[in-house]
Subunit: 368 residues, 4 copies
């Protein structure tokens, strides 16, 4: 029962890569919010396979249908169910893995946990599951924009293998991200990254990298100590994305080599507001947003599916070899950018609604 995320803005995804479809039910969406299929579809299109030469060439349109919760273009306050049908199934591609556990995939662990698995293309462990997240994230972004006029969340590829982009974090906008297929706002680095991915694909191999995400326009006060701290919820959200291995916020692991006198963010008055002069905290202090930019980084491992012959075993305990034949991404990061944004938006939307519950009017408290 781990398929639900969030306390007040509560998202439940469903679906395997092969079968009737994948989707999401969003419970707790405020009523009277204008919401169209197109807004959701445009986010799904950023995640869609086959969108460029460096992604998998599977053809999936991933057209969504809003099954419920929206009436005459507005949310009802009722659950919003969104469905994307599965297409382009080639079960033949997967016959071999019905028996063989793919290294560093979830085949073995699903079998160990459940005693059964849908071996067609990853089943529930397929990245296709993230469709539901992206659809829900589109709704979360919409609500956050209504609640906080300045709100924006922008994720981008910051590193692919050894290629590190040079990005002005505080200036980058979605249009800068979307201007190339790599979703890296550093054009020169993006070109190198594309070349590297094509080379690696040619070698039947795969690579990983880092996605950075910056969130602006979040007011001070979001996050719920002590366990639902903003960074804790973000960490969980990010590590729940397939292929992630690490998360850091603000100074992150670099903080471990700094002194307090360097790392601390002094407060100052700026524009009539209490502001942090530096932002090693990454916009969060004590688990609560402080009004500064929130930024964090997510480590993605290289795609587990590779063309090389690999040593593995069968479900009947025989030693064997396996080489992937399915169509796959040599590097998931360009398509994972909207997933990172979606999960970030889910966390922030949930925390924004939770904060509303204890605060009566904007800026005042329940008793005032």
């Amino acid at each position: 029962m781990g398929n639900t995320f969030g306390q007040l803005f509560r998202v439940t995804t469903f679906g395997e890569s092969h079968g009737g479809g994948v989707g999401v039910v969003i419970d707790g969406c405020p009523p009277n919010v204008e919401l169209s299929k197109a807004e959701i579809q445009s986010e799904l299109d950023r995640r869609r396979p086959g969108q460029s030469k460096i992604t998998t060439q599977r053809k999936e349109e991933d057209q969504c249908e809003i099954l419920s919760g929206v009436f005459e273009g507005k949310t009802l306050g009722a659950p919003i169910a969104i469905l994307v049908r599965n297409r382009d199934a080639r079960p033949g591609d997967y016959v071999e893995i019905a028996e063989k556990f793919r290294p560093s995939h979830a085949d073995f662990t699903y079998e160990a946990k459940y005693g059964i698995r849908n071996w067609q293309g990853g089943g529930r462990a397929s990245a296709r599951e993230t469709i539901g997240r992206v659809a829900a994230g589109a709704v979360a972004k919409k609500i956050l924009s209504l609640l906080h006029a300045e709100f924006e969340i922008v994720a981008y590829v910051a590193q692919i293998h050894g290629v590190v982009a040079n990005i002005d974090r505080s200036a980058v906008k979605t249009k800068d991200v979307e201007k190339n297929i790599l979703r890296c706002p550093d054009t020169a680095a993006a070109k190198q990254m594309v070349s590297l991915i094509e080379q690696v694909r040619g070698e039947g191999d795969s690579i990983g990298g880092i996605i950075e995400c910056v969130v602006r326009g979040v007011p001070p006060g979001l996050g719920e100590p002590v366990f639902d701290k903003l960074e804790a919820d973000l960490a969980k959200a990010m590590l729940s994305i397939p292929a992630t291995k690490g998360f850091e916020i603000g100074s992150g692991f670099a903080a471990t080599r700094m002194r307090g006198s360097e790392h601390n963010d002094p407060f100052e008055m700026r524009g009539g507001k209490i502001r942090a002069a530096t932002n090693n905290s990454g916009g969060v202090q004590g688990g609560i947003s402080n009004g500064e930019e929130i930024y964090f980084r997510v480590a993605f491992k290289p795609t587990a599916t590779i063309g090389h012959q690999q040593k593995t075993v069968t479900s009947s305990h025989m030693q064997t070899q396996l080489a992937a034949r399915g169509r796959h991404d040599p590097c998931v990061l360009p398509r994972a950018v909207p997933v990172v944004e979606a999960m970030g938006a889910l966390v922030l939307c949930d925390q924004a609604l939770r904060q509303r519950a204890i605060i009566a009017d904007r800026g005042s408290r329940i008793t005032e």
Copy 2:
């Protein structure tokens, strides 16, 4: 309402650093488990202030009382409430910070969120809150040991500022960790770390570092996709600990510079079991344990409380200066080791109980 952690093994902490006390209520503890105050106290003693020359010199005995849920030395299946009274309050130490926001502390954000804060020593944001976590973690460890005979969880300091320990992760035991006050099993590195901390304290400054944690004896099958993946729950658990800035599991951020052909963990038969030949996955694949060692690393920033004069503002928006006078840790890591273990144990215990719900008997499924 973010003070509860876990789904089936559900822990709620309470208490501020100054006030009646701090503690925890554990709901969902299985019945008939032998449990003594001493088992809990011994873990609390590892976290206690004043335990060595490199920690804060505050004298807090932190004696716990089990208020409920245990009868004649055994758990009842009822909530276990554990209370530790506050002592050694010197409110005078905190008068200054009633008005001044300490940089990189939670003073400002608590004020922004709640419109009120207990300014005595950090209030709810104090690391003293982790007492409840450590107490609950002691119970979780006990249950895990009963469920899985080989279970052990060992955290240790792997890095302090620039000093990196050299540790054989797969061999390290709790006794190796406890043999020095730094809780670093590399004796030579530990000495250097102690010196560095003493030096930094002398300079009125602070430093951070990395705690690594290894978990052994976890069977394949723990973790609940897609949101409550084992690494997702661990990431949340770790980022909910005060002063943490990052989390990585297995290969972590290093994975971003590896190729799939290097990173993948081939399966092989070993000792009659399906085993991974390498362990870049860190014991988790697709969010579910695979039976290998689980290991992860947590980044701690330098303590925010330092003796230097720092620029800040008052709650009435005046620019001012602040230098800490309270007794504090120049480096939190030695005392954070049991906290990391506790949070890790909470995650694993919760997931172990969740797995029991869907599996009938050890090794078999509900329908068998």
Copy 3:
């Protein structure tokens, strides 16, 4: 965010009466359970409109589709999404109620709560929402049967308006219930009830009654004090069904006029087991099942939709009159029988899985 029910067997329904469809996502279903569309459909057919002369004559096939979570006829442990498309929409039937609040319906309260409502046929407040519950209930029944071989849950109509059935509660079986369209095992009373409903329908009026439900084969030990007591969860489940006004378990309201010496159920040894000699407790003591029959009764009010002219107001605050024109049930009870069973099964399945988490093997505890 009130559309999810259960802790471990967690059911989320979605959908309005008009729109894409209604359905359910079941999270936490154990893996490897054989499950077919037919099993779910047969329960839905018991709830379906137009099934007999005393129900609404709307023609809705209510054919379900399993979108996910089942593979080659077995559950995967992944979320099971089930969808039933909406059909036979006659929006013209509902134009009038777009403006007028129907007395004792949810039109006004939905408007008050959300500021918007889908006025087509009740929207989310439509009894059509119970399709998702019945589908999930079919899965819950299946699991309960696997866990407890003797498990059975049988609901039936015990009273319609002034006609009270005479039923041997401990003997009644599903086949006795299904032998007439009223779903009342007392054939003579059933005939009277049918006549009464037809008469009332002819008068443009409606009536209510009582559904009783008996559950057998539940072992001692289900139910989680102190808030998730078995009777508390059942009460919530039943009062969440549209048109319900009351719940009683065991002796119920009659207990208020009994003395302790009459009401107490003495224990005795019977068949080698500790058994209650009488069953005023209704199979539950202290919130936990005691192994005896669980039985409870649910009060249903008369259908709010009637053909009479009724006084009401419009959304623009004008006094007006309203008489229903849509096709509706003059008495909901015959079709509510499977809904009561479904909600009862959801509670018991959830509690059965929760109990498994703390008990290792059948009959033994975690430490044995």
Copy 4:
């Protein structure tokens, strides 16, 4: 893990009747609410044993201590932990029941569920557990009064065994309830009830009855379809109170004998507002408050503890006899009145906070 109640205003009780104490942790309480120990104590005093000649003569002061969450007389937004120490233990009173299962108590079911029980005075199943509920209810009442100026919740004894009070439900105030020890505002009936209880006690027997509760000043809009309907949450809350057997709201079971044309509550304009002309709905329609008085009734069985010799069995399966010797209430209702109010307040406070999350400002929606 059934010891937590509520989604946003989340209450966890702990403690057995014998042991360190009983209490509650309240998470999600809004900050900046003035709260004193006295406010909580005054509610606890209404529940306290030994308060009058018709209650148990056990002497328990039940003095509460606020351990956390309140600072300088105001709530912090942090968890509020409240502890009441146990006193006046006479374990000797309970030696017999260590072996013998008391009929219609929870002794047998706790043993069956957990394989262990605290046999001293009921352990966790003791009504003493409701202390935590009453303490939390005091806080909930305070918040509701701040949110809704007209809010009041009044419970009273409406029936004891065959004695039915005659009460003007819409006029009754707390002072009317508190004017006699029976907590029945009908003075004449109260006298009869007191006599009856004294007579029954003299006979070593016990009796039950009905508590009615009325809630005023609740705005339209509280309650979360489809599972967390207001009446569903209330039903669960009430059936989680020890010794309850039934719940009905508004017309309740009487609705089963009414026609729709009688039962429906026509809408009318009154005082510039949309109002129901009658209130068979009990203030709730479609699971959401409609602004009218909410009223409901709770059935209490006769106390299980009686002085008569009763047939029962021992834990070692021997037939035996048992007669209570402990000091007990012959009728729990007078002391249960504050418990019913507390549980009602917990439900309403939780739903009021949940409604705030989706509505921006009083009276307007998120997008306005």
